[in-house]
C-alpha cells in the first residue's frame, strides 16, 4: 500500500479545489488501519468527489518522515488547499476533523 490514490469525480460543494490529503502510517497497526478507514468515510461524507488521498507507509519510506516533518503516527496532512493542516490520531472523531479542516457539517 505504497501510495493508494483515490479520486472521485463529484459534485461541487461551493469549493472547486481538489483536496490533496496525505496519510502517513507505519505498517498495519490497528491505529493506522482505523485511520485509513475513518479518513475514507469522512471524505466520502464531506468531500465527495474532490479529494485525493495518498497513504504513505513510513516503514517503507523512512526518508519521508524527515522530509515531511512527521513525528506522530498516524498523521494526516492537508497541503492543498492552504493553509497546511496536520491532524494526528486515528481520526475517529468526525467533529474534530471538521474543526481541524475548517469545514462546516455538510448538511444538517
Amino acid at each position: 500500500m505504497k501510495a493508494t490514490v483515490k479520486k472521485r469525480p463529484g459534485k461541487s460543494n461551493g469549493h472547486n479545489d481538489v483536496w490533496n490529503l496525505r496519510l502517513y502510517v507505519a505498517g498495519q497497526s490497528a491505529k493506522c488501519l482505523a485511520a485509513v478507514r475513518n479518513l475514507n468515510a469522512f471524505c466520502e461524507a464531506h468531500l465527495a468527489g474532490r479529494y485525493r488521498i495518498e497513504v504513505i507507509d513510513l516503514l517503507e519510506n523512512p526518508k519521508l518522515a524527515r522530509a515531511d516533518q512527521i513525528l506522530a503516527i498516524p498523521t494526516l496532512v492537508r497541503k492543498v488547499p492552504e493553509p497546511l493542516r496536520k491532524i494526528v490520531g486515528d481520526l475517529s472523531n468526525t467533529e474534530r476533523m471538521l474543526v481541524g479542516f475548517d469545514l462546516r457539517p455538510a448538511s444538517p
Partner: protein, 586 residues
C-alpha cells in the same frame, strides 16, 4: 569531597563509558557518559546544554570514531552550524563525511489537531533511519521536551518517551537528552523520571551582577563521580569544565630550590630560596611592594629560562612593564622571547569560577613553571568569599600537581599588619612573605619578613625592603628604643655608628701612641740605669784589680824582703796568707 578522588578510578562497577571529549567532564565522571545509555543534561535557558551536547557529538565523530545524530527540536541545522562555527566546529564538513547528521524537527502547535489515538512512531522511524544511515553511535535529542508543547495528550507522550528511551538503549547508542530546568525540579517535564542513568545539571547563576557557569553530576548510576559543582567555561575552544582531579593531596613535593634572585632573600629562606612547585604568598598593605616582589620572582624565573605566566588583575601589561622597569626589573626582553606572558583582566569581567577556569586553560596552554597571580585578593571581589577559598585551593592544588611555583599576592586591608589574608588561604601557603609598612620618624618604609616557610629553616629577622633603580635589595634594620629603624633613621643610625667607629679607631691610635711614649721613656730610664750599673761594675772591677796588683806587689816585696832576711819559706807562706787578709782590710 570524599568522592572527589573516586573520579578517574571508576571503582564500583566497570561501566562501559563513552568519553565525551569535553575537557574536564570525563575526569569528573571517571571516563565519560554511560556507553549505550541515555544521559540527561538539564539546565535553564542559555546555560550551554546544546553546546555540551554538540561538542559531545563532534568530539565523538572526530576523536573517537563515533558518528552522531543530532535531533534538533529548537534550532535549524543552519542555525546550529553557524552557532558552533565560532568554536571551530565545521558541521558541514562532518555532515559531508557522514560523521554527523542533523535533523531539525519542526513542531507547530497551531498546525496540529489531535484526533484520536496516535503514537510517535514517526519520530522513531526518523531517528532509526538517521542512525542507520551513518552508523551513528551517539545521539542527541535537543530539547525533547518541546514535544510537550507540540502535543496535547500527555498520557500518550509520556508513554512514548518511556518507550523511546528504552528503544535508544536497545539500539545501543550513547545519547544525551537535554531538558529545561523546572521550578524546584530538575526538569520542567520530569524527564529525570525516564533518563536515570546519568543526570548532569548545568547552572548559570548571577550573583552580584557576576555570572558564573557551573556543572554538577547529580546522579551517575553505578559509578563514583565528583559530586561537587564545577565551574565551566564556554569560549573559543568549546566547553571546558575545570578539572578537579588535582583537588587532592597526592602531589609530589620537589626538593629542588629556586632562587628568588635577591641574595639576601634567599638567605632568609634557609639560604637556598623557594621550593619548586611550592605556593608563595606575598601579602601586605597597599604600596608595600607586593607586585614588585612578584615581578622580581617572575623575572628570575625567566632568567632561568623557565616560562612564567603572570595574571594581572589590577594593572595592564604595559603598566606593569613600565613600573617594573623603573625599579630595574626589565621584563620586556622576556615578553619578547615568549618566556613571560601576561594575562590581564578585570576581576569583575567574570565570576570567580570563570576566572579560575580561564586561568586553568591559559596555564594548560602555556605550560609555565611559575604562575603569578597579582593579586588574589581582587578575585574575591568577583566571587563570594567562601567560594574563593575553595576555588583557590583547587588552583593551588592544580599548580602543585603540575610542579609549578605559585606566586600569589594579597592585599591586606586596613592599616594594621594583619597576619591573615582576606581570602583565608594561609593554610594552603608554603612560604609566606609578609611585607609591612614601618612608619616611624615621619617616614614610611618597607619591611619584609618570612612569616612562614615550610620545610626550611627560615630567618626570623625583619629586613628593610628597598626598591632601588637597580632592583630589590634587603637590608638589616636597626632595633632602637622605639622599635626597628628604617629609612633615614637607619641611615642616620648607620652614620652614627660610623662616626663612633672612627672615634674608636682614633682613640685606639692615640692610646697606642701614648703607650709608645711611655714605653720609650721607660726604656730610656732603663738605659740610664743600665749605664749606671755598668759604670759601678766597672769601678768595682778596677778596685779589685788594683787590690790584686797591690797584693801581688806586697807579696813580691815580702819575698824580696824574705830573700834578703833568708827566712824559712814554708812558715812565711802561712803568715803571708794572713797578711793578705790584713791587706784586704786596709
Amino acid at each position: 569531597m570524599a568522592k572527589t578522588n573516586g573520579a578517574g578510578k571508576g571503582t564500583v562497577a566497570k561501566l562501559a563509558k563513552a568519553p565525551s571529549g569535553i575537557q574536564g567532564l570525563d575526569e569528573i565522571t571517571g571516563g565519560g557518559l554511560p556507553k549505550g545509555r541515555p544521559s540527561l543534561v538539564c539546565g535553564g535557558p542559555g546555560c550551554g546544554k546544546t553546546l555540551l551536547a554538540m561538542e559531545f557529538l563532534v568530539r565523538g565523530a572526530t576523536e573517537h570514531g563515533e558518528p552522531g545524530v543530532f535531533i534538533a527540536f529548537e534550532e535549524t541545522s543552519d542555525e546550529l552550524t553557524a552557532n558552533v562555527r565560532s568554536l571551530g566546529f565545521d558541521l558541514d564538513k562532518l555532515a559531508e563525511q557522514k560523521k554527523l547528521l542533523i535533523d531539525h524537527v519542526i513542531l507547530e502547535r497551531n498546525e496540529i489537531v489531535e484526533n484520536g489515538e496516535y503514537d510517535l512512531n514517526g519520530l522513531f522511524i526518523r531517528l532509526g533511519y538517521a542512525i542507520d544511515s551513518i552508523g551513528a553511535k551517539r545521539v542527541v535529542l535537543d530539547t525533547i521536551e518541546t514535544l510537550f508543547g507540540g502535543f496535547a495528550n500527555q498520557a500518550i507522550l509520556r508513554a512514548e518517551l518511556r518507550r523511546l528511551f528504552r528503544w535508544l538503549k536497545d539500539k545501543g547508542v550513547t545519547a544525551i537528552i537535554t531538558a529545561e530546568r523546572g521550578e524546584g525540579t530538575l526538569t520542567r517535564q520530569g524527564m529525570e523520571e525516564y533518563v536515570s542513568d546519568c543526570v548532569i545539571l548545568l547552572d548559570h547563576r548571577v550573583t552580584d551582577q557576576v555570572s558564573t557557569r557551573r556543572l554538577r553530576v547529580v546522579k551517575y548510576r553505578g559509578t563514583a563521580h565528583g559530586s561537587n559543582e564545577y565551574p565551566f567555561l564556554i569560549d573559543a575552544e568549546g566547553f571546558s569544565v575545570l578539572p578537579i582531579t588535582s583537588a587532592g593531596l597526592d602531589h609530589v613535593a620537589s626538593d629542588e630550590r629556586v632562587s628568588t634572585g635577591v641574595a639576601r632573600l634567599d638567605a632568609m629562606l634557609g639560604g637556598a630560596g623557594l621550593y619548586r612547585g611550592s605556593s608563595v604568598l606575598v601579602s601586605g598593605t597597599a604600596g608595600t611592594g607586593k607586585s614588585s616582589l612578584a615581578a622580581q620572582l617572575a623575572k628570575e624565573s625567566c632568567a632561568r629560562g623557565e616560562r612564567c605566566l603572570y595574571f594581572a588583575f589590577e594593572e595592564s601589561e604595559s603598566q606593569i612593564v613600565r613600573n617594573m622597569g623603573s625599579i630595574g626589573i626589565d621584563l620586556r626582553p622576556w615578553i619578547k622571547k615568549g618566556i613571560l606572558r601576561f594575562v590581564a583582566a578585570r576581576p569583575s569581567g567574570g565570576g570567580l569560577e570563570t576566572h579560575l577556569a580561564l586561568m586553568h586553560r591559559r596555564i594548560k596552554e602555556f605550560q609555565p613553571r611559575m604562575v603569578v597571580v597579582d593579586p588574589i585578593s581582587n578575585l574575591v571581589d568577583a566571587g563570594v568569599m567562601r567560594d574563593a577559598t575553595s576555588m583557590l585551593m583547587r588552583l593551588i592544588d592544580f599548580l602543585k600537581t603540575e610542579q609549578m611555583t605559585a606566586v600569589l599576592t594579597s592585599l591586606t586591608k586596613g592599616g594594621d599588619q594583619r597576619e591573615e589574608t582576606e581570602v583565608g588561604i594561609s593554610s594552603l601557603i608554603d612560604s609566606w612573605l609578609m611585607l609591612r609598612a614601618i612608619e616611624i620618624g615621619g617616614e614610611r618604609n618597607r619591611g619584609l619578613y618570612v612569616l612562614k616557610s615550610r620545610g626550611m629553616a627560615h630567618s626570623n629577622q625583619i629586613r628593610e625592603f628597598l626598591l632601588t633603580s637597580r632592583g630589590i635589595d634587603l637590608l638589616d634594620v636597626y632595633v632602637g628604643e622605639q622599635g626597628v629603624l628604617t629609612g633615614s633613621m637607619r641611615i642616620s643610625q648607620e652614620a652614627r655608628e660610623r662616626v663612633a667607629e672612627e672615634d674608636r679607631v682614633r682613640d685606639a691610635d692615640s692610646k697606642r701612641r701614648a703607650s709608645d711614649r711611655r714605653r720609650r721613656a721607660l726604656e730610656a730610664q732603663i738605659a740610664v740605669l743600665r749605664a749606671e750599673l755598668e759604670g759601678e761594675e766597672d769601678g768595682g772591677r778596677r778596685a779589685v784589680a788594683g787590690e790584686r796588683d797591690r797584693l801581688t806587689r806586697r807579696r813580691e816585696d815580702r819575698d824580696d824582703m824574705a830573700r834578703s832576711r833568708k827566712a824559712d819559706a814554708g812558715k812565711e807562706a802561712t803568715n803571708g796568707r794572713g797578711g793578705v787578709r790584713t791587706g784586704a782590710r786596709t
